[in-house]
């Protein structure tokens, strides 16, 4: 079959858009911005489509672009001081977000973590991604990620004393 980049992009986007939206929303915490992130990420994917070297799966490469776009958007919001007070508490603002008090408390606790720990925790706990894939998405080592996850879980447990969260195993 002849390579068809447009068809491949369309399939990739259709398959992963909901996941990208969730990842973006958890980082930028705003429904509209999360949609912008997904669209901007797709523009970058298409612009760099032919430079993809196949060192990871195309979906992992795309996921990394989404994460980077979301982090950039979050920093832009911080620089422009347009961050909504709700965002400061780490609670996503979206019609598709539903959470009880415990989950909101978890988000608030996660929001207190340093960026890398926050991302690792979200990918491990929320998405249940293997460390190898998280390492490719974040461009870092598995060992460092495990340490980050360990620290993140310890901090969250300390913050959420009394709430019985089934935190996944650390390895």
């Amino acid at each position: 079959m002849q390579p068809d980049p447009l068809r491949d992009l369309t399939e990739l986007v259709q398959r992963h858009t909901a996941q990208w939206y969730r990842v973006a929303l958890r980082i930028v915490l705003d429904h509209g911005t999360a949609q912008d992130v997904v669209q901007d990420a797709c523009v970058k994917m298409w612009s760099h489509w032919t430079s993809f070297r196949g060192e990871a799966q195309r979906s992992t490469w795309a996921h990394r672009i989404v994460v980077n776009e979301a982090l950039s958007a979050r920093r832009r919001s911080a620089v422009r001081s347009t961050v909504d007070p709700e965002v400061l508490e780490g609670i996503p603002e979206s019609p598709y977000f539903e959470a009880d008090a415990a989950l909101k408390a978890l988000y608030a606790a996660v929001a207190q973590l340093p960026e890398q720990q926050r991302l690792v925790f979200q990918f491990r706990y929320f998405d249940e991604l293997p460390y190898a894939e998280i390492a490719q998405i974040l461009g870092t080592s598995e060992g460092g990620l495990k340490a980050n996850y360990h620290h993140a879980v310890a901090k969250i447990k300390k913050t959420m004393v009394g709430l019985n969260f089934d935190l996944i195993a650390e390895s």
Binding site: A18, Q35, S72, D127
Partner: protein
């Protein structure tokens, strides 16, 4: 990663309806394939313009008043020269490029 059109019982509390995902996917694909590559073409232009401004300034320095030792011609473009060119309005940056520069240099207020 869980492929999705609708997230099923996600631990993060975000449930993405299939219709919304499909609509967002269509918008994203449309925008990606119809968007110009302006950011990726503009960036080299911006830095080329900054480099040209810096080289021009260098030439002026080397052609100072007769009898005076000429300034050394510096190859390439330093960060200071690029910033000067930017501040003097020799080049313009998009919002995204400005913010990227601010981030790189630890500037938290624009």
């Amino acid at each position: 990663m869980n492929p999705n059109t609708e997230s099923h019982s996600p631990r993060d509390g975000i449930r993405v309806p299939a219709e919304f995902a499909a609509e967002l996917a269509a918008r994203a694909t449309q925008r990606a394939t119809s968007a110009s590559r302006r950011p990726f073409r503009l960036r080299p232009l911006v830095w080329t313009a900054a480099a040209a401004a810096a080289v021009f300034a260098g030439i002026l320095l080397t052609q100072g008043p007769a009898g005076q030792p000429s300034a050394e011609v510096r190859p390439g473009l330093t960060v200071d020269e690029a910033w000067s060119a930017l501040e003097q309005g020799e080049v313009t940056l998009t919002d995204d490029e400005l913010i990227e520069l601010a981030e790189q240099h630890g500037i938290t207020q624009l």
